[in-house]
């Protein structure tokens, strides 16, 4: 029993937790931005697949790592544009379009993978992002290695959270985004186009989702596998609800979730097969559902979430 508790005190556990949290942080922020503007983006799962592949294949083709991140973001933004075109001006069902985008992004990725690498059985590896310890800070026990000896992409994830929070709450643009999700008519009354705000938010959010996917192939691992996103996108949607659409809370949720995930892997080793491993693997998904139930009662959805807006309509 003590052993199960001791895990929580090891630095390697927290290093893993932050690493597991990083892709979730990117994608959760992406979804949060979309939903704050009033658009549910169920394309997240597929966009993460596309981002994971786009970033990895760019580096595999000889591109620079940061260029790979950029390409992933652009791929995400492109799918975001498609999603937004269908859901914002055309006002189509965000559920159906989102699922459609996920199916399209996933299948296009797999198709392209087979075109680029027709014969391989095991995908080639790339030189991924390496940990970049920050001097002095990384020497602090436990916290140091966990927070200050990660790869540059993890640092970027935290920067993205701060930036998202700052833009949403401290800038006119953020106000317009939030208002587009709460009371679009008020935005239009200010002479700002709801459509432009929403399309922009979905594109930016989708770019972040794609970077979240790219984190897996370019930082956590160094290769692209089918099914590697494995429901992470759907978990991020739960995390946005759990974080009540606030960047800080969502960040906390992602880290908590990742800590739990890192913990179950270690617990699995500790129990030595006495409990079937599938039970442990189920935990993240079960936890997501439980989290949703927990916060559902007091969840305050953006009021215009999933409601298309037409100019001049009330």
């Amino acid at each position: 029993m003590m052993e199960a508790f001791d895990i929580l005190l090891t630095a390697s556990f927290w290093v893993a937790a932050i690493r597991i949290a990083s892709p979730l942080i990117f994608a959760t922020m992406g979804e949060l931005i979309c939903e704050r503007a009033g658009v549910l983006n169920l394309g997240i799962e597929g966009i993460m697949v596309a981002g994971a592949f786009a970033g990895w294949v760019t580096v595999y083709a000889g591109g620079d790592l940061w260029f790979g991140v950029l390409v992933a973001a652009l791929a995400g933004a492109a799918f975001g544009l498609l999603h937004a075109t269908l859901t914002v001006p055309l006002g189509l069902s965000q559920h159906v379009v989102g699922i459609g985008i996920t199916l399209l992004a996933t299948s296009l990725t797999y198709f392209t993978y087979r075109i680029v690498l027709p014969e391989v059985t095991s995908p080639p590896k790339i030189e991924a992002f390496q940990p970049l310890p920050i001097p002095v800070l990384s020497d602090i026990p436990v916290v140091g290695p966990a927070l200050f000896a990660q790869t540059p992409l993890t640092y970027l994830a935290f920067v993205v959270v701060a930036l998202t929070a700052w833009i949403l709450y401290r800038t006119p643009l953020g106000l317009a985004v939030r208002a587009a999700g709460e009371n679009p008519a008020a935005v239009e009354a200010q002479g700002i186009s709801v459509a432009v705000i929403r399309i922009g938010a979905v594109m930016a959010g989708s770019a972040l989702m794609a970077i979240g996917g790219a984190f897996l192939t370019m930082s956590a691992f160094n290769s692209f596998f089918f099914e590697m996103i494995n429901g992470r996108g759907w978990i991020c949607i739960a995390l946005v609800v759990f974080g009540s659409w606030r960047p800080g809370k969502a960040l906390l949720g992602a880290i908590l979730f990742a800590a739990f995930d890192a913990y179950q892997i270690r617990l699995q080793q500790l129990t030595g097969g006495a409990i079937p491993y599938q039970i442990f693997l189920m935990m993240p998904y079960v936890l997501s559902i439980l989290a949703l139930i927990l916060v559902a009662r007091r969840a305050t959805y953006p009021k215009a979430l999933m409601i298309p807006y037409q100019k001049g309509e009330r």
């Binding site: 169920l42 498609l82 269908l86 001006p89 055309l90 006002g91 189509l92 069902s93 559920h95 159906v96 379009v97 699922i99 459609g100 985008i101 199916l103 399209l104 996933t106 299948s107 296009l108 797999y110 198709f111 087979r114 075109i115 027709p118 459509a195 494995n230 429901g231 759907w234 978990i235 949607i237 739960a238 609800v241 079937p276 599938q278 039970i279 693997l281 189920m282 998904y285 079960v286 997501s288 559902i289 949703l292 139930i293 559902a296 009662r297 969840a299 037409q310 100019k311 001049g312």
Partner: protein, 349 residues
């Protein structure tokens, strides 16, 4: 840009826009084929030939369409009431598990009793699985999209657990698979020596029954009313929550039949690759059918044809068979646009 409702779309419009959607899908796929270094015309020919060019191809297409009819019906029923069941994949697997649990010798009954019994049990299991998310939706307001999606992963892991534990075939040489169902639990083949089985007939019957339920019963009317405007339905005194729960039972049950039919009619046993995403493809089938149960049959055969044809084409022309998945996803997106265009006029100003 504004959208204005059209009073009544003309016959030409209701046909032209969906046809346009198919055309855009084919054009997009042709671009991908060119990118893969093959000729679109020969690829289209090979897909069509692989899907319907011979008796073998046709039988294969109908076999592949069978589970898609069930999952397509499940989605059509749920979406009609705006119950977003994205969990047909999980319900399919639970139906398959039930079929294995009861069909591998636990019940020594003759086929005419055993098979209906297994069907009912499978439907009950699938129905109960969707009842959870539906109850969470009406009771706590938890979005069923996320819960049904997450349940897909949970159930697949649960099946994996069963395949390596209680349901593992002791004679399976260590593979994670179950025993085969006994002869009494097997659905007969429709044509001697071909893969097409009685599950296809059950699927057609299910489509007809679903059509009757949706168009000719009070429950069907209530479902449509709830889907159209839940507030108005509630105001009219309809028990909206209970209708949603009943819809969930029907939808989950239909999806579970896909698992039953695949195991009892085609595979005989249960493995983790029983379904290559039939639950998700069911969404496309239902949308292509405009949520009409009879349309689901046609849409399922069409989608199955693309998959079967693409498999054959891929072997012959060397274009990855994932082109089928791309086409199906593209068809979904273009079709929702087409449907919108038949109902609304786009005004630029």
């Amino acid at each position: 840009m504004r959208l204005e409702p059209k009073p009544s779309p003309t016959m030409v419009e209701t046909l032209a826009y969906p046809a346009g959607a198919v055309l855009v899908t084919v054009l997009f796929a042709s671009l991908l084929v060119l990118a893969a270094g093959a000729s679109p015309f020969s690829v289209i020919y090979l897909v069509a030939k692989g899907a319907a060019g011979s008796q073998f191809a046709l039988v294969e297409t109908l076999t592949r369409a069978t589970p898609l009819i069930f999952t397509g019906l499940a989605v059509a029923v749920a979406f009609r009431a705006k119950l977003w069941n994205i969990g047909a994949e999980a319900q399919l697997y639970i139906g398959a598990v039930m079929t294995i649990v009861l069909g591998t010798g636990a019940l020594p009954l003759p086929a005419p009793i055993l098979i209906p019994l297994i069907m009912i049990a499978a439907m009950a299991a699938g129905a109960l699985l969707l009842l959870g998310p539906a109850a969470l939706k009406v009771r706590f307001g938890v979005d069923e999209v996320v819960t049904t999606l997450l349940l897909n992963f949970i159930v697949l892991l649960f099946v994996s657990l069963l395949l390596e534990g209680p349901l593992k075939d002791p004679m399976g040489l260590g593979w994670p698979q179950t025993k085969k169902v006994i002869a009494e639990a097997q659905l007969p083949r429709l044509i001697q020596g071909k893969r097409l089985h009685f599950g296809f007939v059950i699927a057609l019957a299910a489509a007809a029954a679903t059509w009757v339920i949706m168009k000719k019963t009070v429950f069907g009317y209530e479902m449509r009313a709830v889907g159209h405007n839940p507030e108005a339905a509630r105001f009219a005194g309809m028990p909206v929550n209970r209708i949603l729960m009943k819809t969930a039972l029907l939808s989950g049950g239909l999806a579970a039949l896909a698992g039953f039919s695949e195991v009892a009619g085609l595979k005989g046993n249960l493995t983790l690759d029983l379904s290559p995403g039939y639950g998700y493809t069911g969404i496309v089938v239902a949308m292509l059918a405009l949520l009409n149960p009879l349309g689901v049959v046609i849409a399922a055969i069409f989608v199955a044809g693309i998959f079967v044809g693409a498999d054959a084409m891929s072997r012959a022309a060397g274009v990855p068979s994932y082109i089928a998945d791309v086409m199906v996803a593209t068809a979904l997106l273009t079709m929702v646009v087409a449907v919108m265009l038949t109902r609304f006029r786009v005004r630029w100003r």
